[in-house]
Symmetry: C2
DNA sequence: CGTTAGTTTGAGAGGACTCAAAGTCTGTGG
DNA sequence: CCACAGACTTTGAGTCCTCTCAAACTAACG
């Protein structure tokens, strides 16, 4: 099973050496949890890095007791660490499964060690971060000056299955609006 | 002069080997331009990576004939490439000097080569990207659910000199609001 | 000292928010 | 397999904030 995943990652980003793959395989854990399981909680924290094999995941944090959803991940997506590791800060994020899911888990320590040991692994990771940056920029563009309708449409275009898989409240939060507003947008189509 | 800059970067991120520094020095160009100079234009494009030694810079793109400001850079900031190089896309960004500035310029090709040749250089670059991700996330959090006033205050806190250095219209655009609104926010303090 | 770029102020319209209540769906235990 | 409880979604009414368009004011620069 991991065979296939490494191939997918290689095809999308970059093909790393067999040695790096070997060491990587040693470090990862394949984990499987049910819907609503919390992969990570605010505060208590050993930073980890995830890759979604199957399922759907959201990351959120609390702002004035409201959950603000920050990131979705589906099949073949990474869930980047939510902390600024440079300043050794704790994460304020929760990571919750929205569907029963299978994931690859790698601790940040192991990730750093793999980067240190294998130049090509660090290269791969750098490419993954570049893609993340691109996605975040798109998201900023969307929040900065698009209408709510435009934001919603482009989210659907990017993740066509999102409407049926993710609760409306979470989607609304992700788009930076209330769920009532999103419900009305949907109705007005 | 470059001596000092390498030291600064090493102190903030990671210290790379003398060999990597040597090769890096070979590739960079120190450039100096006056206010309003366009470092990059939409469309026509050889991707480059900049570091600000002195001055102030903004990046923006056009949306319905309006300039949307996306990124500011001041002393010791990087200006990350605005394209998704993974998909070989062209940039839609303009990069313009707001003050007379001195910058370090490195082409993306050279950057990639340096990464390939020196593992420690790629590591450094990866750390720079991690920091960028952190900044972008902060920005998303700000746009997603903070009030305009909160967004403005935290921007001032992050860049105390911004009020005097950057035109109000550009700051407003960066915050995702109109300049009239920002002017009123300022007045209401 | 005139021209242009940048900022402020005003009035009115429209969109998203809040609070409240009523539907609808889904999963679990009887 | 049904019924109930809890989670999720829709609808309504009123308020507030930000937008647009317009015009006046101020600062910066040659």
């Amino acid at each position: 099973m991991t065979e296939e995943i490494f191939k997918k990652i290689a095809a999308e980003y970059f093909e790393i050496s067999p040695e790096a793959i070997f060491d990587w395989s040693e470090k990862i854990k394949i984990i499987e949890y049910k819907k609503k399981y919390l992969l990570a909680k605010e505060g208590s924290y050993i930073p980890k890095f995830y890759y979604v094999i199957k399922g759907a995941v959201k990351a959120y944090y609390l702002l004035d007791d409201k959950k603000v959803t920050d990131w979705f991940a589906f099949e073949n997506d990474f869930i980047p660490s939510t902390t600024n590791l440079l300043v050794g800060q704790k994460s304020n994020h929760f990571i919750e499964l929205i569907e029963d899911s299978i994931l690859i888990e790698l601790t940040n320590n192991d990730l750093e060690e793999l980067c240190k040991k294998h130049h090509d692994f660090e290269h791969l990771y750098r490419l993954i971060l570049s893609k993340t940056i691109y996605q975040l920029r798109e998201r900023i563009a969307s929040l900065q000056f698009r209408t709510v309708k435009q934001r919603y449409d482009s989210l659907i275009k990017l993740h066509p299955t999102i409407e049926s898989r993710i609760p409306l409240g979470d989607i609304a939060s992700f788009l930076g609006i209330t769920q009532e507003t999103l419900s009305r947008i949907r109705a007005s189509k």
